[in-house]
Each structure stands twice: as structure tokens, then as C-alpha cells.
């Protein structure tokens, strides 16, 4: 296995990590109004990800930076081709990020409402557009022989890519619901579980369509592979576990669904990194976009040293903040 392959895998892992972790953050952001009856409920829901979301978002930064370092050609083409889409993603992430922080700085209901709604919108837009971007990698974009993008913003909005976006938003909702169920008590938890059960059939259908479509696009027939079938079954099982008071299992299963979805996109992509609609000769592949061997070697050493440390302290964070939150803690918002 060459280092170029290793780095393709590392990047796939980073994207998967991002969606598994930030996926429930997005879900919590989307659902925090729907699952809440009053401000105390909303605070309970938001605080489930309070200490975690910032660290989770870094996965996206690192995924992008790893692409820059290991495959500059891929990074340059993808990010300039998807200019407007990514600009919107950034706006969404910025609004979402500061919404957490600014929302609580004033007690006025109008102020809180505004940031709350921005939080919902940002949490929908970001995974949707990133999903569209990942879908475009596989469906193909007009790329010239100079590796430069030759299309417009509207060329990005292709049917399959849009479906990937919808799929990711759907999974984020389910993933968020199982996460909230795992991290709260009382009525908020009950509502989250009920929601997870009701959402599951829809998400299962959406993911099934995604799996079949992905295979058609990749030219590998119609049938989903074993992992994808397992993912669809996992959604059904998650709904069942949610009903059976097994919050941990339900969450573990939606984690698997999210991971399987992202991994299947990257698996079908390999060894290409961006499909070109101008024929296979102009496809971007891991070999025609990669950095030199010195850079790859250096980055591998750094990654092998640092990544386990990062994983360890992030896991420690989750362990530290593992306890469930109850609305009683937020009923009398103390003066900050």
C-alpha cells in the first residue's frame, strides 16, 4: 500500500469522523426548537453538545487541510469549483457557531429567537451543501485537461448530488434525535425517542435510494453492497432500540449509518478523487493530484504521532461530559 492510498483513506476517515460527530451536532441544532416546549427545554437540548461541538467542527478543518497537504490538485479544483456553495457553507457554519455563543448573551426573547432560528437554518444548510459537494465528486463535473473547473454554480446542483445532500440532512436528524435521547432525561428524552421512531422509516427509504443510486452512478449495477444493506437494517434496528429504552444502542446504530454512508461515497470514488464529465482522461485521481513523496512521508509521521493523542483527548472529553442533562438544571437560569 503506497502512501498516496494511505492518505486517501486518512481523508475519508476524517470526513467520516466529521459527519459522525458533527452530524449529531447538526441534528441537535435542527431539532432544538422542535423538541422543546420552552426555554428550559431548549437550553437542555443545546447544552447536550455545549462542550463538544467546537472540537467536532475542527474535523472539517482538518479534512480540508489534509486534502490541501496531500492532494493540492484535488483541494484546488474542488474548492474553486464549489466556490459559491462552500461560501454558503461557511456562512452557515459561522452563523451557527456564533449563534451558540451570542444566543445566551441577552435574555430578550426576540434576541434568543433570532439566534435560535439562525441555528436551525445553519444546521440544515451546512450538511446539505457539503452533501451536495461530496455527491458532485462522484457524479462528475466538467473539468478541463488543465484540471480546472469549467462549469458554473448551477452545474453543481445535479440530481444525485442533491440527493446526497438530502440523505445527509435526514441522517443528521435521526442521529441528533438518538443523541438527545441518550443525553437527556424526562420529557425531552421521550420526545426525542418518539421522533427517532417516527423518522426512521423515512430515513431508511432515503438511504436505500441513496445506496442504489450510488451504485448506478459508479456503474456497478443496481444492488447495494453488504455494508449498505446493513446500514438500512441498522436504521430499523435503531428505531426498535429507541423504543426499548436502549438509548446507547440506538445511538451506536445511527453512528454506523452515518459512517457507512460517507464511506460508501469514498469507496466508489477510489482511486479517483473527482470524476470529470469530459471522459476518464480528465478525471482527477489520487496519483495526478498528490503531493511529493517527502511531504506525504512527513505528514504521515506527523499524523501517526498526533492523531491518536487527539482521538484520546476527545474521547476523554466525551467521557467527562457523559452524564445526562435534565431540564431542572436550566429552569432558573442563574445570572451568568
Amino acid at each position: 500500500m503506497t502512501l498516496v492510498n494511505v492518505w486517501f483513506i486518512i481523508i475519508a476517515v476524517l470526513w467520516t469522523g466529521f459527519f459522525v460527530l458533527e452530524g449529531f451536532d447538526f441534528g441537535v441544532g435542527i431539532l432544538h426548537r422542535y423538541l422543546a416546549r420552552d426555554e428550559a427545554d431548549r437550553l437542555t437540548v443545546i447544552n447536550t453538545i455545549g462542550p463538544l461541538w467546537d472540537g467536532n467542527e475542527v474535523w472539517l478543518v482538518v479534512a480540508g487541510a489534509a486534502m490541501f497537504a496531500a492532494f493540492p490538485g484535488w483541494y484546488a479544483t474542488m474548492f474553486s469549483a464549489m466556490y459559491l456553495a462552500l461560501a454558503l457553507v461557511l456562512v452557515a457554519l459561522i452563523l451557527r457557531g456564533v449563534a451558540f455563543e451570542f444566543r445566551g448573551r441577552d435574555t430578550g426573547t426576540g434576541w434568543r429567537r433570532t439566534w435560535s432560528i439562525l441555528l436551525v437554518v445553519g444546521s440544515v444548510v451546512a450538511p446539505f451543501l457539503i452533501g451536495v459537494a461530496l455527491g458532485d465528486l462522484l457524479q462528475g463535473l466538467p473539468i478541463g485537461s488543465d484540471q480546472e473547473y469549467a462549469g458554473t454554480f448551477w452545474d453543481l446542483l445535479q440530481p444525485y448530488a442533491l440527493w446526497v445532500g438530502i440523505t445527509l440532512v435526514a441522517i443528521c436528524n435521526l442521529h441528533g434525535a438518538t443523541f438527545i435521547a441518550l443525553k437527556t432525561t424526562g420529557e425531552v428524552r421521550d420526545r426525542a425517542k418518539k421522533l427517532a421512531k417516527r423518522l426512521a422509516p423515512f430515513v431508511a427509504v432515503i438511504v436505500a435510494v441513496f445506496a442504489i443510486w450510488t451504485h448506478v452512478i459508479a456503474g456497478k449495477g443496481v444492488l447495494p453492497n453488504i455494508v449498505e444493506i446493513a446500514a438500512i437494517l441498522a436504521i430499523v434496528a435503531a428505531a426498535w432500540f429507541a423504543g426499548e429504552e436502549r438509548d446507547g444502542w440506538a445511538f451506536a446504530l445511527t453512528t454506523f449509518v452515518m459512517a457507512a454512508t460517507i464511506v460508501s461515497i469514498f469507496t466508489e470514488l477510489f482511486p479517483r478523487v473527482m470524476v470529470s464529465t469530459n471522459g476518464p482522461a480528465t478525471d482527477l485521481t489520487i496519483s495526478n493530484t498528490a503531493s511529493g513523496s517527502y511531504t506525504l512521508k512527513l505528514m504521515t509521521v506527523i499524523f501517526v504521532i498526533i492523531f491518536p493523542v487527539v482521538a484520546a483527548y476527545q474521547a476523554w472529553t466525551y467521557h467527562t461530559f457523559r452524564r445526562r442533562l435534565s431540564r431542572a438544571e436550566f429552569e432558573n437560569p442563574a445570572e451568568e
Binding site: 475542527v58 490541501f68 479544483t77 469549467a150 503531493s291 437560569p333
Partner: protein
């Protein structure tokens, strides 16, 4: 443009993270409640600010690919590596432990909680290190070989990149400037509170701490800055010559304190106040050192890289240099005055000083922006010194209309965020301290949560 905005908030973040960590360490060591209250107070200021700093950092990381795809494609091999290391080593550390720190007040052993604020401070300054290493490579490319077939620079010596003299001096300079910036912010907030006569005892401490930090850092920053000037005079003579509007080679050279005229279209300034020998000393460390003029360097570059004009905008260069240096001197004088007042035990009562110290909050902003302009404008027309011109670095597939639209969107967004951020910080800074706990050792659990 976005990088200037980013640079407005980041120094405050880095510096404030350190100062908050210092405050908490003092509380930990001495157990005085006053320090705990100060830690909380300034920690909240830090958190409000970091929210903006982190998300705008995300934009920075993405826009290389979005706006500068040709640049990224050419130099990604070298330039991408420090950025990826920044993400892995620094961003994760900073973001993760910030969450731990905010929410860990009563859930963690004190020692670990203290360690987490230090992790934030270290993460913030590490990230500055990697980004400065990348930037210094743009100023003075080292540690690479040019691939014969593709013409792309390929990294072959990371050690050279990380010991680039421009990086070592530049990073120290930036770190000191960040610390000074945060010290000024802390001083200004404390001064405002002292003027209102609230919590005098508590805020006198933070004022003294900020002064004790400010004076030496400012002095060091100026010293390192002048050493950086010498280094840059060696590798980027154009930048220094332009900063001094020195069109002709001179030896020895005088430093011009103030001049009228002397821009790109007018090589003979009409009015100059000069100090003899000072420029030679600043640029070369020698009393009679030679500084090569803009015209001569331009002629040299034309021979080396082909015809063209390689002179940056001299007017911006000259004035950003002066703006930076003069503001720095004002800040230094202010801090010395403050220390003298502390010595005379008059700090809390000198209304004139406190008034000035409050308004001094704008000085480091001017200083940092001018410094950044100085180094970035001085590299023009290159995006990577001697390797690629800025004009060749932009994304060919992205239309001007798209860039303009997104620039306007980001500008408006940043403007709104800046206003909200500043308003929130000011409002919070004017707030009264949370009441002192009766027994700091075991106070009722404060809800450590997003309020």
C-alpha cells in the same frame, strides 16, 4: 481582506488566553478569591471573542482553495503541510479544551481545569506558529526543490521551513504583539472599571498585572521587530526599501521621521524630517550600513525574472511602517507612565491616566493592522517571493462577479459579527463582577453551561 479581519481578533484571543491562564494560575497558587473572579470575568471576554476567531479561521483555511486555486495547486506541496499540521496539532487542542474549560468549572478537579486553559493558550499560539511558518515561506521560500517536469516547488526539508529566520523572528514578533494587545485590552477594561469606582481592589490587581506584562512585552516586541527588519532587509530588500521610500541606494542612510510626497509616482519627497544613520542601523545593525534603493532592486529583479514592475505601493508601505512604530511607542510610554503611577501608589486615583488607558484600546488594533499591511503589501507583486506573482495565483475558474459577491457577503457578515462581538464585549466589560463567593473553596455549583 478577510485575513486582516481575522487578524483583528486573533491577537486578542492568543494574548487573552495566556493572561486568563496566568490569572487562573495565580488563583490556584494563592487561593485568593479576587483572582478567581478575574479569571471568570476575563475568561468570558475570551470566550465571546474566540467564537468569532474560530469561525473566521475556518474561512481562512478554505479560501486558499476557493480564491487562490492556482496558487494552491502550485505550492500546496509545501504550503499545505504546515496548514494540515496546524489543524491537527493546534486547532483540535484549542477547540476541544475550550469546551472543556467553559463547561468544566465544577465538573473537573481544579488542576485539570487549570491545565485545560493552558491547553487553550498553547493551542492558540501553536496555531499561530504554523500559520506564520506558512506565511514566512511566502516571504522567504526555503527548504524546497523545484520539480523538473512540472515546475512545482516540492518540500524537501521541513526543518529549513521551521527554522526560516523570517519565521523565527516574525513569529516571536507576532506572539509578543498579541500578548501586548491583550494586555492593553485588559488594562483598558480595568481602567474603565476603576474610573467607575467599582470593585477597585479587584480591578487594581488586573490593571497592575496587565501593566507588568505590557511594558516588557512591548519593549521586546519592538526589539524583535527591528531584528526582523534586519532579516527582511537581507531576504526581501524591496520590502524594507519601500517601507523607507528609499528610491536610491544610500550609505549611510538616514531615517525619515515624516515626509510629504514620495509615493510611487513621485520619487522626491518635498518635506523630510530625517535622523542621520538611523536607517542604516535599523536595517543592517551597522552605523554605516548600506541600504539598496528601490530603483536598483527593481532593475535587478527585471534581469532575474523578466520585465515588469516589482515595486510595491510605497505610500502604503511607508505609512504603515510609521503607523505601527509610532503607535508602539505611544503604548510603551503609556505603560511606563502606568508603572510609575503604580510605584507612587496613585494608579487607582489618577483620572487622567485611567481615561487615556481606556481609550488606548484602539491603539493595538491600529498597530496590528499596520504591521500586517507592512508585511503583506511589502511582498507585492509576489504571492510567493520570487516564485509566483499574486496575479497568477487566483482561481481561473472563478469569475470576478462571484468573488465580488462573496467578498461583499463576507464583508457584511463580518461587519455585523464585529459589531455584535464588540457590543457584547463592551457590555460585558461594563458589567459588575459576579458576587464574590463567601467561601471560594466550596461555593454553590455555578451552572457551567451555555446560559
Amino acid at each position: 481582506m478577510t485575513s486582516i479581519y481575522h487578524f483583528l481578533f486573533v491577537p486578542v484571543t492568543i494574548g487573552l488566553a495566556f493572561l486568563t491562564a496566568v490569572l487562573q494560575t495565580m488563583w490556584h497558587r494563592r487561593g485568593q478569591a479576587a483572582y478567581r473572579r478575574l479569571t471568570r470575568f476575563f475568561g468570558t471576554l475570551l470566550v465571546i471573542n474566540i467564537a468569532v476567531g474560530v469561525v473566521t479561521g475556518l474561512v481562512q483555511e478554505f479560501q486558499f482553495g476557493m480564491n487562490w486555486s492556482a496558487y494552491s495547486r502550485l505550492v500546496g506541496d509545501v504550503f499545505g503541510a504546515p496548514l494540515a499540521m496546524e489543524g491537527l496539532a493546534a486547532f483540535f487542542l484549542e477547540a476541544t479544551f475550550l469546551g472543556v474549560w467553559i463547561f468544566g468549572w465544577d465538573r473537573l478537579p481544579r488542576r485539570i481545569h487549570l491545565a485545560s486553559i493552558w491547553a487553550v493558550a498553547i493551542g492558540a499560539s501553536l496555531s499561530a506558529a504554523f500559520i506564520m511558518a506558512a506565511n514566512s515561506w511566502m516571504q522567504h521560500p526555503v527548504g524546497y526543490t523545484t520539480d523538473a517536469s512540472t515546475g512545482k516547488p516540492q518540500l524537501d526539508d521541513i526543518w529549513a521551513v521551521m527554522t526560516n529566520p523570517v519565521f523565527l523572528w516574525g513569529y516571536t514578533h507576532v506572539l509578543l504583539a498579541a500578548l501586548a494587545t491583550a494586555a492593553v485590552v485588559m488594562l483598558a477594561v480595568s481602567a474603565w472599571q476603576l474610573r467607575k469606582g467599582k470593585h477597585t481592589e479587584v480591578f487594581a490587581r488586573s490593571a497592575k498585572l496587565s501593566l507588568a506584562v505590557l511594558a516588557p512585552t512591548m519593549l521586546l516586541a519592538m526589539f524583535v521587530g527591528s531584528e526582523l527588519g534586519v532579516v527582511e532587509a537581507r531576504y526581501q530588500p524591496m520590502k524594507i526599501a519601500a517601507a523607507e521610500a528609499q528610491w536610491e541606494t544610500c550609505q549611510p542612510c538616514s531615517f525619515s521621521v515624516f515626509q510629504i510626497g514620495g509615493g510611487n509616482n513621485d520619487q522626491t519627497p518635498t518635506q523630510v524630517i530625517e535622523i542621520p544613520h538611523l536607517l542604516s542601523l535599523l536595517a543592517t545593525n551597522h552605523w554605516n550600513g548600506q541600504v539598496i534603493g528601490l530603483n536598483e532592486i527593481n532593475a535587478q529583479y527585471q534581469q532575474q525574472y523578466g520585465p515588469g514592475n516589482y515595486v510595491p505601493n510605497v505610500f502604503i508601505q511607508y505609512w504603515s511602517m510609521r503607523l505601527m512604530a509610532y503607535t508602539a511607542v505611544v503604548i510603551l510610554l503609556l505603560s511606563l507612565w502606568g508603572l510609575w503611577l503604580v510605584h507612587r501608589r496613585k494608579l487607582e486615583t489618577s483620572r487622567r491616566f485611567l481615561w487615556l488607558a481606556t481609550w488606548a484600546v484602539f491603539l493595538p488594533i491600529i498597530m496590528n493592522t499596520a504591521g500586517w499591511m507592512l508585511t503583506e503589501n511589502g511582498r507585492q507583486p509576489w504571492i510567493v517571493q520570487g516564485i509566483m506573482l499574486t496575479a497568477d495565483g487566483v482561481s481561473p475558474s472563478v469569475g470576478t462577479a462571484t468573488i465580488v459577491t462573496s467578498l461583499i457577503v463576507f464583508f457584511l457578515l463580518y461587519l455585523v459579527l464585529a459589531v455584535v462581538d464588540v457590543v457584547l464585549m463592551i457590555r460585558y466589560a461594563r458589567r459588575e463582577l459576579p458576587p464574590a463567593p463567601a467561601e471560594p473553596a466550596d461555593e454553590p455549583p455555578v451552572p457551567a453551561a451555555i446560559p
